[in-house]
């Protein structure tokens, strides 16, 4: 990695001074490193994909094979033709999208306060925000469940959405505060000179140039809400409220697992997320913030 760092760090728009052969050598080295990294990250997923096409016993066959005689789409058809399972997907979308949007709004407000103001109790609030995450969720389960039932949020979307917001807010606030801190305060002051309030400064100036940060926090938030299992199970009761992770665990029976269906369901679950990621990842492409910061 060390040999790659320089090329990477020099994110420059200036014409490179180096000679062409050197460039090519670097290019090959970068591609080689990328391929090695891709093996690490993607091969297990490839195995998941291959397992989803197998018949159950073939998953355990030795020597293992990527494509087997029993290759079929049965697992996928089973899931896609089951209205109950499709409902799980719908629920997951509703919950994850709501959580992402709400978390971003609430966190941006809080981060603005942390980044641009000094106020009494700031330090304490900071410590609390960070450390509330340190309680093992499993011990919170029973009191939390009691609370949700008392608030009449049991088996509702809002119950799940608010719960996940509690999980995702601390991270979102901390990260957004960090991003705002890297933006010069002159930016929002310039707006205020024109008589605009802090809200204008925040939403018109800071938020638009923080898009890469917002996207990365948003993706994180979405993933948490999409994949959470324990609270999703405890806080819902009926099939029409359950989410994909529960659907996957329902395939893990007392005596045997539906291995291929489990794999297929998680592959199906990740495809929309991937599409979302593909769409948003253009915000990672170089230079955006750096350009905007220039006053």
């Amino acid at each position: 990695m060390t040999t790659l760092a320089p090329t990477v760090a020099t994110t420059t728009d200036r014409p490179p001074l180096r000679t062409a052969p050197k460039q090519t050598g670097r290019k090959i080295a970068v591609i080689a490193a990328l391929v090695v990294g891709a093996c690490f990250s993607a091969l297990p997923v490839l195995w998941m994909l291959s397992s989803s096409f197998k018949r159950n016993p073939e998953i355990f066959a030795y020597p293992p094979r990527l494509i087997t005689d029993g290759f079929s789409f049965d697992a996928y058809t089973t899931i896609l033709t089951d209205p109950v399972k499709l409902r799980f997907f719908l629920n997951s979308y509703v919950v994850a999208i709501s959580v992402t949007l709400l978390t971003l709004v609430v966190a941006v407000l809080a981060a603005y306060a942390f980044s641009r103001y000094d106020f009494w109790g700031k330090k304490t609030i900071n410590v609390v925000v960070v450390s509330v995450q340190a309680v093992p969720p499993i011990t919170l389960l029973i009191p939390y469940f009691g609370l949700v039932v008392a608030l009449k949020l049991y088996n509702t979307y809002p119950g799940l959405i608010l719960t996940y917001m509690v999980f995702t807010l601390p991270y979102a606030i901390i990260m957004m505060t960090g991003y705002f801190n890297t933006l010069p305060k002159e930016l929002d002051e310039a707006v205020k000179v024109d008589g605009a309030g802090p809200m204008t400064a925040l939403w018109r100036i800071l938020v638009p140039i923080s898009v890469p940060g917002l996207v990365s926090v948003g993706i994180y938030t979405f993933m948490i809400a999409w994949n959470e299992f324990l609270f999703a199970l405890t806080l819902t009761r009926t099939e029409d409220m359950r989410t994909v992770p529960i659907g996957i665990q329902l395939l893990m029976g007392q005596h045997s697992y539906e291995w291929n269906e489990m794999m297929a369901m998680s592959i199906l679950g990740c495809i929309p997320v991937l599409v979302l990621f593909l769409f948003f990842q253009r915000f990672f492409i170089g230079g955006m913030t750096a350009g905007a910061v220039k006053i």
Partner: protein, 429 residues
């Protein structure tokens, strides 16, 4: 000064949030349909059975019940088996437990102590129910809290092809024969092992099904007067020694310390182990997965020369009624329905399990030779599962598994392991 204003604002917002929250939940689909009016009752029945049965079959049974009992509707709530326990505990603590719940024998004692499930003995006597038709009941302190609806017994499965290849003529009937057969099968090489032993600490029921089963099959017991008796108990120590000897001679399939029941059956299905002790629930799984695999079912081998009745381990789908339920009488009707001769026959047929009603006969016993044999074994022996109804039963299995792992690892002797487990068990009783 600023404090006051801040407080006011905070309180106001809090109130607003609460309002919104209430409004939202009103609009949500949270209505449990109590239906107090008109005497209509909705029973919630949470279990893990429905997803394990063929699609729609369990719901069909419920429809039958609803037809026979106008005014009662059953809402099936299905959850994953592995998380059922947490859900029941949390539900009981928050007062939202379902009226009728599916139970595992290992949890009953704890739920009863928590006051989560109702005393069925008094409900039965209130209803004037004749409990002699029940195969078994799980009691805590003399009162019944769970009724096994259907039972999955755990006989020995042997792979016919592997056995004959290894020159083993018939499934072993004694421990010596078993050790010998295991040795021969392992000797075949090619990554094939004689036996498989799941000892996962996540789901430690291997201790009950695959270890203690050896003790029970020779008429032994791990308890004495309801108290743990792991030390100075020749039945237990010889059984566990036997398991340890098998381990030491290398005939046990690798990966045992994190293996679960679901993995065990895959090893067998793929022909990598010759023999296993396993649930009858798997017969169809194996047949569907590997139609070419020929296998037999026999009683778990006993100590050489043992001629008494053999205990055969089992796992149940048990049923209980929530202590908080406002409809205990209706809930009992549902239990009674499930335990009735015909329904129980039907349920055990679709689940491929043995009935909880003494008079029920599942159809597969006559149609299927393998199940016929199993039923014979079942009737010749006695159902043995000493963990059922014990306090923190799952933890007992886990404690035992941990100490056994230490012994198999060579960190301590079998006797030391039993003594250590005994000490832990005594602390829990």
């Amino acid at each position: 000064m600023g404090n006051g204003a801040r407080m006011t604002r905070a309180v106001a917002t809090l109130g607003a949030v609460a309002l919104v929250a209430t409004a939202c939940s009103g609009g949500g689909s949270g209505g449990s349909g109590d239906g107090e009016s008109g005497g209509d009752v909705t029973l919630e029945f949470s279990q893990w059975w429905e997803p394990e049965l063929p699609d729609g079959e369990f719901r069909a049974l419920m429809d039958e019940f609803e037809d026979a009992n106008p005014g009662i509707t059953v809402e099936l709530l299905s959850g994953p088996y592995a998380s059922t326990k947490e859900q029941v505990i949390a539900g009981a603590a928050a007062g939202t437990m379902s009226d009728v719940v599916g139970l595992d024998g290992a949890w009953v004692n704890d739920f009863a102590k928590q006051g989560a499930i109702a005393d069925l003995s008094s409900i039965m006597s209130d209803a004037g129910y004749d409990d002699s038709q029940l195969v078994s009941q799980v009691a805590v302190d003399g009162s019944t809290y769970m009724i096994p609806v259907v039972n999955f017994v755990y006989p020995m499965f042997t792979n016919d092809a592997v056995l004959s290849q290894a020159g083993v003529a018939a499934p072993p009937a004694t421990r010596t024969e078993f050790a010998d057969a295991a040795q021969k099968i392992t000797g075949l090489g090619n990554n094939t092992y004689g036996w498989v032993l799941p000892l996962s600490l996540e789901a430690p029921n291997g201790v009950q099904n695959d270890v203690m089963s050896w003790v029970w099959a020779s008429g032994g017991s791990m308890l004495k007067d309801g108290q743990p008796a792991l030390v100075d108990n020749p039945d237990v120590s010889s059984g566990v020694e036997f398991v340890a000897d098998l381990w030491d001679s290398g005939v046990v399939s690798p990966g045992a310390f994190t293996m679960k029941e679901q993995d065990k059956v895959e090893e067998f299905t793929n022909g990598r182990v010759g023999m296993m002790i396993d649930s009858l629930a798997h017969v169809n799984t194996i047949r569907e997965a590997n139609p070419d695999l020929k296998f037999s079912i026999s009683a778990i081998p006993a100590e050489d020369g043992y001629t008494g009745e053999r205990g055969i381990p089992y796992a149940s789908w048990g049923i209980g009624i929530s202590e908080n339920s406002e409809h205990k009488a209706e809930a009992w009707k549902l239990v009674e329905f499930l335990m009735s001769k015909d329904t129980n026959s039907q349920l055990s047929s679709i689940a491929h399990a043995f009935p909880g009603n003494t008079e029920s006969v599942p159809d597969f016993v006559e149609e299927d030779e393998l199940f016929g044999t199993a039923f014979e074994i079942y009737q010749n022996g006695y159902p043995a599962n000493e963990f059922t109804g014990l306090p923190v039963a799952e933890q007992l299995m886990r404690d035992f598994s941990e100490e056994l792992q230490r012994a198999l690892q060579g960190d301590q002797t079998v006797d030391e392991a039993l003594a250590a487990a005994q000490e832990k068990w005594e602390a829990e009783f």
